[in-house]
Amino acid sequence: MPSWVGKSLRRREDPELLTGQARFIADIARPGMLHAVFVRSPRPHARIASIDVSAALAMPGVHAVLTGDDLPEATAPQPCTHLYAGQRETPYHCLAKDRVRYAGEPVAIVVAENGYLAEDAADEVDLELEPLPSVGSAEAALADDAPRIYDDCGWPDNVVGEFRSEMGDVDRAFDEADAVVHERIDIQRLFACPLETRGVVAEWDPYGDELTLWTSSQILHIARDLLAAVMGIAEHRIRVIVPRLGGGFGCKFHFYPEEPATALAARVTGRPVRWVEDRLESFLATVHAREQIVEASMALRADGTITGVKAEILGDMGAALHTVGYGPVWLTSVMMTNAYAIPNARVHARAVITNKTPLGSYRGWGQPQANFVVERLVERAAQQLGIDSVDVRRRSLIPPDRFPYKGLHHVFDSGRYENCLDLALETLDYDGWRARQRELRAAGRHVGIGLSFYVENTALGPSKLLNAGGVQQGGYDISRVRIEPSGDVTVYTGLCDMGQGITNPLAQICADHLGVHPDSVTVVTGDTASCPYTGYGTGASRGATVGGASLMKAAGALRERVAKIAAHMLEASPDDLVIEDGRAWVKGSSSSVVTFADIGRAAYIRPIELPEDVEPGLETTAAFDPPQMAWPYGVNAVVVEVDVDTGLVSFLDYAYAHDCGTVLNPLIVDGQIHGGIAQGIGQALFEQLPYDEAGNPLFGTFMDYSLPTTMEVPRPRLAHQETLSPNIPGGAKGVGEAGAIGSPAAVTAAVEDALSPLGVRISRTPLTPSEIVRLVEEAAARAPERVPA
C-alpha cells in the first residue's frame, strides 16, 4: 500500500487563502446584520454605580444597548471546563453585574446599523464606577492586607487554587546533595496574539428557537455546550460554525463572554449581529498567558547527576478563571522534572486572583514555564559545578530502557533523548562553536551558546485521567468517514483548523487507511451540525494524533466494507483484494477492477449489487481515546551575540533537533516548529504585558507590544529523528506546541552565556534592550573589576 503519510503534500486550503477567497469571522455577513461593540471597564476594580444607556439608545441607527441588568434571569456565569480539586469558583457574567474586576471587562454591548455608529453610541454610554482597592501582581495578592477580590463570595484570601505533588525523599536528596542551586524566576505576562482577532456572529431563526453562532473558536462542541449551559437552552438548538481562523495558539481555546453576549443581542434585536474584536480590545479581552513567579531548587551530585527538585509556583490568573481553570499553573507544577529521571521532587503551586485580564491558554500551556525553570537550574548547577551544562543534561535524561517512565505525574511513553541531544550538538556544530566563541571573545565580542532540552505532553489525552483530574471534558476524538455515491470521500471531524493545516494530515491518513488518493478526500471541520463531537477541542497538540487515530479506525472499518462489496462484485475473497487509489482488484489480476464509484453506486443507488450481509450506505464513525499521552521531545541549540551598549541580541546560529514520532507531513511539521520557535523568541526577547501596581495595563498596542519581524527571527536548522509512540496507532506524537516550549530557555541560556564573562545572571524575561543593559550595569556594580572600562 502506498504511504501518503510522510509526504510533503501541498496544502489543500492554500489557493483559497492566497486569492483572498477564504472567509474569516469578520467576513461573515448575513442579511440584515447589525454590528456590535462592547463598552468595557476602564478600571481594574470598581463597583458599578450606574450605567446610563439612554443617550446611546437615542442615537440614530442604534438598535440595542444591553448591560448586566438586561441578562435574562436564567443566564449562568461563564463556566470552566477544568475543575481541579479545591479550585474556587470566580463567578462573573458575560456582561458585568454590580462589579468589575479588570480593565477591559465587558459591561455593555451596543448594537447598531454599522460598526461606526456602534462605536459612536458606545462613546455615549455613561458608565459610573466607584473604584475599589485593586491588586496588580500575584505577590501583592498574597499580602495579608491585600484587597479581597472575591470578598462577595466569601473568600478569605485571593488564592483560587492550590496543588501539591511529591515523589521520593526530597529532603534526603537535598541533605545529601553535593550541590544545591536555587533560583527565583519571573516569567512575564504576554499573550498568544494571533494576527486575526476574535469575533462572533449570532443569528436566530425567525421564531427565536434556534441559534446559529459563528465563532472564532478552537473548541467547536465545547463552545456550543457551554453556550447552551450559560443561556439555559438545549445544545441541539444551537449550531456552532467555526469559519477560517487566522491563528489560535490556544487563546481561542476559550469560551468568552462575547459569545453569549452577542447571541443575546441577536435575540433581543431579532437581527443577526456581528462583533469583531478590535486590536486594542484584544490586549484586554483575549486571555493572557504564562505569568508566573517560581522559586525552585535543584540538588545534584558532584558529577552533575540531578537528584532532586523543589518548586514553589505562583501563578497570576488575573481577575477570574477562564474556561480552563488554573490549568496552566497545574501543568507547570507537574512538569517540573522536565525530561530528567529525577527521583525526588516536590512541587507546590498556588494560583491567585489579581485585577488583570484573565489568564489562560497559549501554545505550551504551563510547559514553557516549567522548562524555563528547570533548564535555568541546570545552567546554574553547571556553573556551580564547573561542568558543561550539556553533560548535566546527558547524565540525567531518561534513558531509552526505562520507558514507559513514571514521573512526577505522567507516564512518559518512549524516546531516545540522549540521541536527540547528540543530534542537536552535531547539527549546531557545538564544539566548533565553542572554539569560535573563544576566538570571538578574545576579540571582545559577547557571543554565547545556549541549549535547552524539552519534553512535551501531547495527544491529550486519556479521558479517565482527565476526568479524574477534574476536567469536565473527554480526551477522545471521533471521526466519521463517508464514501459518497460518486466514490469521493468525506471526512468529518470535530477538530478545528486554526491555520495549522489539520485537514491535510487527516486526508493523508484517510487515503492510506481507506485506499484512495488524498485528492479525493474532503475534510469537513467546524460545524456542529455535521461534525462529530470532539472530546477536548483543538489544542494540546492532539489533533493529528488523537483525531488521526480515530480516523484510522473509522477508515479501516469502512475499508472492510468496501472490501466486502468489491469482493462480492469481483467474486473473490476480501482477503485477496488490493485496494489502492480508489480502486479494488484481485491480487495479481488487475485486468478486472472495481472503482469506488462502482461501490458508491451499489451502496446508495443499486443496493441490488450489495452482498446479503452488507447494509446500504457507506459511512463509519469511530472514536479513539488514548491509553496514555504521547511525549515528543527536542533540543534548541542557539548561538547569539549581544551588544552590551544597545542591548540588542542577534542570532548567529539556531539548531533544533526533535522527535515527534511518525512525521505525517514534513512540510507542515517544519512549519509548526518554525512558528513555535518564533513565538518562543518573542517570549525570550520582546513580548510582555506589564501592569502597574493597581492593575492598570501599561501596554496595549502594537507600538509597545513588539511581535518579532522577519529581521528578528533566525532561520532554524532542523534535524528530525522518529521514535514512535506506543500509545498512538501509527506512532505519531503531537508537534503543534513543540517549538514554543524550549526556545525561551535556550535563547536565555545563550544570552547569559554571552554575558557570563561580565558576571550576568538571568532569571527573568523578556530580555529587551533595556533589560540587557540593566543586567550588564547591575553586574558591573556588583563586580566592577570584571567589566573593562
Binding site: L17, L18, T19, D27, R279, H674, A678, F702, T709, T710
Partner: protein, 160 residues
Amino acid sequence: MRIALTVNGRAVQADVEARRHLADVLREDLGLRGTHLGCEHGVCGACTVLVDGEPARSCLLLAVQADGCAITTVEGLAADGRLHPLQEAFREHHALQCGFCTPGFLLTADHLLRERPDLDDEAEIREALAGNLCRCTGYHNIVDAVRDAAARMREEAVGG
C-alpha cells in the same frame, strides 16, 4: 461623499463618509474581503494594498484620500484563473499557515519584485518584508517563497 476608484483594473464608485477608511470600503462596500484588518493602527501590514502601484496600509488611508487612485488588492493578483507566481511559490514553500497575513505579504512582495526583479538576496528580502507581521510561520518560508518567485518571474520574462 462620492469617490471613484479603479480597483483591480475596474472602475468603481462608492458613497462614503469622510471617516471611512479604505479597508472598510474594499471589504464591506466592494465585497473584496481578502484585505484583512489585523490592527487598524498601521503596524501589522495585513491590510496592505497597492495604491497607484505602491504599498500602503488601507487602515490608515481614508477612502476619500484615495479618490481617483488605482487600487490593487489580493483579489487582483491571480489572472485568467492562474495563480500569480508569488501565490504559486507561497503554496510550494508552505509560506502560509492561517493565511490571515498572507494578502499583505503578497502585495508587499509584488511591489518589491516589480521594483527589484533582480532581487536574490535573503537579507534584502527580509528587510523589505519586515513591515508585515506573521504569527504562524516564523517567516523563513515566506522569504524563500519570495526569492523563488523572483527567480520564476525572471525565467518567465526571459522565456516570454
